[in-house]
């Protein structure tokens, strides 16, 4: 018997939480595969590791790191929300506030974090304008 995804998960407001959690989770999984292999190169082939790190430090690399950081931060915050509700059912009363808090913390922590990672993008612009 095949049940369509839409019937199994009943997309309502919280469907967003579920879908983002799954997409970010699979994305982070893919990065974990890359990251364990790249760190293995520190011992096996340091020159190759240095080449890869040069990419991580480049502008395209940094943009990908911002995407990774956003996925990680969302997955962590939403995961904590899930753990709180699942292991402490009394908090179900505040589920709306927990969902709002997830996004407030995501913005408050995520935006400065992205700006730090993207410094080599905006700092030269500010310098050209004579602002830094």
């Amino acid at each position: 018997m095949r049940v369509p995804l839409t019937a199994r998960y009943r997309p309502r407001a919280g469907m967003v939480a579920w879908a983002f959690h799954r997409i970010s989770g699979v994305g982070i999984f893919a990065f974990i595969l890359l990251h364990v292999i790249d760190i293995y190169l520190v011992g096996a082939n340091p020159n190759m590791y240095d080449d890869l790190l040069a990419f991580y430090a480049s502008i395209p690399g940094r943009l990908l790191e911002v995407v990774l950081g956003a996925a990680l931060l969302y997955h962590a915050l939403n995961g904590l929300r899930i753990v709180i509700i699942d292991l402490w059912p009394a908090m179900t009363v505040y589920h709306r506030q927990l969902w709002q808090a997830t996004w407030i913390i995501f913005i408050v922590v995520g935006v400065p974090g992205a700006l730090i990672i993207l410094r080599p993008v905006w700092l030269p612009l500010l310098q050209q304008l004579g602002l830094a």
Binding site: L33, I39, Y40, V42, G43, P46, A57, A76, I82, G113
Partner: protein, 154 residues
């Protein structure tokens, strides 16, 4: 009764509970009943999640906000970042918890989307083998890079 119905399911051991129930509030799976294994997985996901909240976010923050990627290379890992038993232990703990959490998480994804028993069993085996290989590779590099702090005094 058709032949299909009477044929034994080859992947009986990896069948999920007949019905997956999603919590209306947390949007996660509700605590499984009737299967000790599924209950253990359910708890393991949550325990490793809390550990990773600290370990993974800490690791990402240190290596992106405190140290810029432009300042990092193999020499930096060996002489600075891993020149300490504490940070090697921290990263090994992160490796262990992230492998458990990530591979059990993708196990759930496989159980959700792959219905054909042979492909499902094969995918799960592949997943577990890749997980174990990654754990071995990661552990090997953490353990075998010479520790300057210990060896330089000798």
């Amino acid at each position: 009764m058709t032949a299909q119905q009477s044929a034994p399911a080859p992947a009986e051991s990896v069948q999920p509970p007949a019905e997956v129930v999603v919590s209306p509030t947390s949007r996660a799976r509700v605590r499984p009943r009737g299967s000790r294994k599924e209950l253990a997985v359910w708890y393991l996901m949550r325990v490793t999640a809390v550990a990773l909240f600290v370990l993974a976010l800490g690791h990402f923050s240190i290596l992106h906000f405190i140290w810029d990627p432009a300042a990092q290379n193999a020499e930096f890992i060996q002489d600075e970042r891993w020149n300490s038993i504490f940070w090697r232990g921290f990263d090994w703990l992160l490796l262990t918890t992230v492998i458990i959490h990530a591979f059990l998480g993708v196990r759930t994804v496989v159980l959700d989307y792959i219905r054909w028993p042979v492909v499902r069993t094969g995918s799960l085996w592949l997943l577990y083998v890749v997980g174990i290989v990654l754990f071995i590779l990661g552990t090997q590099v953490i353990v075998t890079i010479p520790l300057e702090a210990l060896t330089s005094g000798m």
